[in-house]
Symmetry: C2
DNA sequence: AAGCCATATCGTAATATTGCAATATTACTA
DNA sequence: TAGTAATATTGCAATATTACGATATGGCTT
């Protein structure tokens, strides 16, 4: 008991929930915003300074965001540089928006 | 320790995370879809039969969805009838979409 | 009023998430 | 190659979430 019963739901619903979960924590929202604002990539260490959480915590959140493929990562000297994978972001935007639109259409029928 | 540090994030990020959280569980996604498909309101008991989770679990999920104002509720005989608050749904859609668009624009700049 | 049906709430067990200190790893630099 | 800076991983404590049985509540029906 206690864990989400993924098996009783269809793949589509599970995936939408998985994507939404990435945006369901304010630190991750802030991290994504911050990365998007950095011209030509964002140094990981700067995120730690910006957000106000400990380095391991940021690292953990970054890995959650990476799991759905939303980040490009590249080495930049001894640091890592992150940037938004805009294609994936667009896919997320469409996924969520299509969901809302579908609900709206059905609800208004 | 352990709990989300809401106070270090701004209201906007906290609210977006709160909204996204509603859609971050497949059962809630399924419930919202199901309600939207029912012509003129959806009997709560039918949701229980449809989704395959126990009645108290559905009730709990419904209350999470209600918390952001996404549901209209009305008595219908001895049952409750739920329907989607389409205005609120639209607001959620815009909130998420504007967020994605803003990220996209910044990331591509 | 007694019984029944639908929903909510309570209590609790199982699991997941959040956050951080300590430590490991990786990569540059002197 | 030793030292250092940046990031990841590990381990763990605190809290939150998910799920459900038991029970309470509220409204029909007879």
């Amino acid at each position: 008991m206690g864990s989400t019963k993924l098996n009783i739901h269809d793949t589509e619903n599970n995936y939408l929930a998985k994507v939404a979960k990435v945006f369901s924590h304010p630190a991750r929202v802030a991290i994504i915003k911050y990365i998007s604002c950095c011209e030509s990539g964002c140094i990981c260490n700067d995120i730690v300074k910006e957000i106000g959480l400990a380095q391991p915590t940021i690292s953990q959140h970054l890995s959650e965001i990476k799991k759905i493929g939303l980040l490009n990562q590249s080495a930049s000297g001894k640091s890592l540089s992150y940037s938004i994978n805009t294609e994936k972001l667009n896919a997320c935007r469409r996924l969520m928006n299509d969901f809302f639109v579908k609900i709206q259409v059905h609800a208004s029928a």
